[in-house]
Symmetry: C2
Subunit: 571 residues, 2 copies
């Protein structure tokens, strides 16, 4: 059977950086060429980064993307990689409108282009705002083999372009993707890719982006699946990776052209002679998907690292309170940026316990962070006395003096401020706007409180396994959580127990269940009333919160779009 | 020719308030009935409010909307209005998905329902995320006349359901709308409605919502246009209004049913006998569209008033600096809420000029606002000394101490904080995050600086015409703008002249022009570079800004969706 050596380049591109992404594509195509690959597949819109949002509507950006693609074809040939067919996603635009496109670059030219057909417009996706769908499929003949292409969402839909490719006849299908990470999503991808391979009657090369972009993080999980659904190789998650795989392909696909359903199939021949028979490489490994906590941890580390670096920051600062949230943020930041990039600040008030200060200092020592203490008593005192603040107003002013302190240090020293709130807090509005909610990025914004504890235990256990110092002080994990804004305050004064709270939130927010469903699940009417009311009233606060890496289906900010002004109450 | 008395109920409904909106519909149907109307048309999704955003995806909300519609039909009959055919927009959901729907309520029952076909998914609209399109058209026979219905976007598209109604045969078309205000949009509506009336071969009753909902404000501008394009009546903008109009309709429409293009037309007969001939009412007036500044002013007043009241606040507070922005916000708030609902706070720093304090006090007197002075020197001093802040960090800490002061007073006294920044500032990032950007609502967020001055002059002139005290001190209008964060500081130290700046922003933001277009317009490369860089870098700040009434095509926050992390630079 004819042979083909294929390469899947799972890379981290950067939105808007046409020059940098072109360099990246040249570098990885060169690696593929060095390993003798005949084709290399890059992720969806690799040349522009993904998602470009309203940049898609800027004519000047689309024109620059098209120019960059043509220049790239020439550069690849100049770099001696012209004979490797490179599949590169980019932004196109024609008289119909902007297009989510991918092209084949070969021997210094753009030899084929194809536009995405299925445009997702749910959850994190708004592609129907931006792109017009394509209905033409360019099947490229390479070394006598017929190679079809489909972009991302086109493999998530039954029927559609994959079925048309199958009817027209292909020996191989390649698919550039930008599929954001979500907990347990990899469980869905493999069966999906296998189903499409069967539909196409050909193996499928699935290549996904890695890296963070604003609230999204891409996990890679690139793979090749045979026509019978066998997983031939899978790349490790959250790292750049080149997979090179030798395939024996039947090469018996018919070469029909013309209309297949709504799709017009065209054939483009690059080379009709099969490659001379050669000794195949040993098969590449099949990476195991990461275990649950590890996967979430690396998603958060990747999202944080790329947000900081891609926005040009080198260091971060945040309040180290001694509590679990700031401890987990610190451990994530240490893994993402290194301890020396962290400037932790303890900002005790008159209500702060001594164990808080001790735990914060202990944390900083464990991760090797810079650490300073800035008591807020003097600042708070001026506001409280001058404005006559009491009760909640007095509690909030403490959090806000901390916010002003961090922002002042950020302005003075150039650190990015991290907000340390978790998803549970955000859901119920248990945070102070312009106080603990200040910052440019919120690493655990989409992590429910119970998962924060779980991650802390997992990360410490990993350190112990490796004979390293566990980053998180045991006391931060075990002590009862408190905002310490008044004497003896505990979270449980205002909130239900976190296990119960997270269960209700999972049903109400992630599951979109109504009041009567929640009652039927056995929650008490009183606690449902209380929690739902808090969630509904906190919409404004959530909108003002910094972005943070999305790991659940319904991350606040990215997916959920609710009116602020709304009289709707469940029940 | 058969007669029909039609009523257009231009009302202000509230998102999520099914009970309150049902009361509103009963009250206005009763008014229509008292005036002898045979049918009354309410705006799009009047029963749920518009837009409901992700509430559309909650099964419990859709179920409650359907129940409320059925209850409403019964209540209307109980109130003695059963014989008035009421066209009521609501949220439906069936096995296909959620539907943007409108129903005809008659004699205690829901007698017809129709789903919107064209689902807008651009600008402020995300309807393809939420709704499935409908392709069935229910034409209702009322007093022997054939009445068709189309919902909002269905009249903005050539062809589509209006053409199908025209082919099938109708005597009248009614159209419930939720069409947000935008400067000069009324110039587009009349020709559009006229074109659709011609396409339908029947007069068209266009009914639009009024009122504010988060960042959107609806202006009404409801109208009736005859088949030959004559404007028969138009309601005044930004007020609730019932238009009652007697029409002589030919009643000669064929009664064909079945498939017309992609639409299935059905006929439902409520009453086949024409109404006995009666003496028509005198024709209602045709309201003139408001002049340019008045229209913007009322849009801003309406947006602010409804945001405050629909969120349950009674009073507002904000910094009165003596500058033009806070003066215009104060005048808007006085018109929206009354002077006694305003708690202005002067927060002088050591750099504040004496004219600033005088102008602020003068403003408060003119509009009858509460007024207090809270110097920030002591607060600023603690932060600056303890943290060692200099330069920009010191400037920002002043703005942030003002932010903490306003939020403290808000927490203590329950006022909503208004942010007083304008669109030009927001565009270039000339504001302090967590400082002057704090607040629940930003009334002039979408008003460019040059328009702020223009509105100030217009409002003062209006007051003079009416023999009232102009609300805005002349000195606030004429003095050169300054943030007063360091000695002798002027906005022009950091920014181009505002006339020039607004011109560039209009091209770059509203017009989406690229670098070379801007050069071709005659702007200098240096100023383009500077402005575009400021705009691109301020995306994060803009996202953290409070919501504010949208009056332009590309309001920040509502329409423009750009990545924060982006390396793209024009030029």
């Amino acid at each position: 059977m004819p042979q083909l050596r294929i390469a899947a380049a799972q890379v981290n591109s950067r939105v808007g950086d046409l020059a940098g992404n072109a360099d990246l594509i040249v570098a990885w195509t060169r690696k593929a060429a060095e390993q003798g690959a005949h084709l290399v597949v890059f992720p969806e819109m690799c040349l522009t980064g993904y998602p470009v949002e309203d940049l898609a509507l800027r004519e000047s950006f689309a024109a620059a993307s098209k120019r960059a693609l043509e220049d790239l074809a020439v550069r690849l040939a100049d770099a001696g990689c012209g004979s490797v067919a490179a599949y590169v996603g980019y932004l196109d635009a024609d008289s119909v409108g902007p297009r989510n496109a991918a092209a084949v670059l070969y021997e210094g030219a753009v030899v084929a282009t194809q536009f995405k057909h299925h445009l997702p417009n749910y959850g994190v996706f708004d592609e129907r705002r931006y792109y017009k769908p394509g209905t033409e499929l360019d099947i490229v003949q390479l070394h006598g083999l017929e190679v079809g292409m489909v972009i991302c969402e086109d493999i998530w839909q039954d029927g559609g372009p994959v079925a048309a490719l199958g009817q027209a006849g292909v020996d191989l299908v390649v698919s550039p993707n930008a599929s954001p990470y979500e907990r347990n999503k990899d469980d869905q991808r493999l069966p999906l890719v296998a189903r499409r391979a069967a539909e196409a009657g050909a193996p499928l090369v699935y290549v996904n982006l890695i890296g963070g972009q604003d609230e999204l993080v891409f996990d890679g999980d690139s793979m090749v699946v045979s026509v019978d659904g066998t997983l031939l190789t899978r790349a490790p998650q959250f790292v750049e990776h080149l997979t090179v795989l030798d395939m024996d392909l039947p090469g018996t696909a018919p070469r029909t052209e013309g209309q297949f359903g709504e799709f017009l199939v065209r054939r483009i021949s690059l080379s009709s002679a099969p490659v001379p028979s050669y000794q195949p490489l040993p098969p590449p490994p099949v990476a195991e998907p990461l275990p649950e906590e590890a996967e979430v941890w690396f998603a958060l580390v990747t999202g944080l690292r790329d947000y900081v670096h891609k926005n040009g920051f080198r260091s971060v600062t945040f309040g180290m309170s001694g509590g679990i949230d700031s401890a987990v943020v610190a451990a994530l930041a240490a893994d993402a940026l290194g301890g020396s990039a962290i400037y932790g600040v303890s900002m005790p008030s008159t209500y702060s316990s001594s164990h808080s200060k001790d735990d914060a200092a202990d944390l900083a020592r464990r991760i090797g962070a810079h650490y300073s203490v800035q008591p807020i008593a003097d600042m708070v005192d001026v506001f409280v006395r001058q404005l006559g603040l009491t009760g909640l107003a007095e509690e909030n002013v403490q959090a806000r003096c901390r916010g002003v302190t961090l922002m002042g240090l950020s302005n003075q020293h150039g650190h990015l401020v991290l907000a340390t709130g978790n998803k549970t807090e955000l859901a119920v509005g248990y945070s102070t706007i312009y106080g603990d909610a200040v910052g440019g990025f919120a690493p655990i914004k989409d992590v429910p409180k119970t998962l924060v504890w779980q991650l802390a235990r997992w990360r410490n256990a990993e350190a112990e396994k490796r004979g390293e110092i566990p980053p998180i002080p045991e006391n931060s994990i075990t002590k009862p959580p408190s905002a310490e804004l008044r004497p003896g305050q505990l979270d449980t004064d205002s909130l239900p127990d976190y296990e119960l709270l997270d269960d209700i939130l999972d049903d109400y927010v992630e599951g979109d269940r109504g009041y009567s469903d929640l009652l039927a699940q056995g929650f008490s009417a009183e606690v449902i009333d209380k929690v739902l009311r808090m969630v509904d009233l906190a919409e404004y606060k959530r909108r003002q919160y910094p972005p943070g890496t999305k790991i659940t289906l319904k991350a606040f900010g990215r997916d959920r779009r609710l009116p602020i002004t709304s009289a709707w109450r469940e029940g």
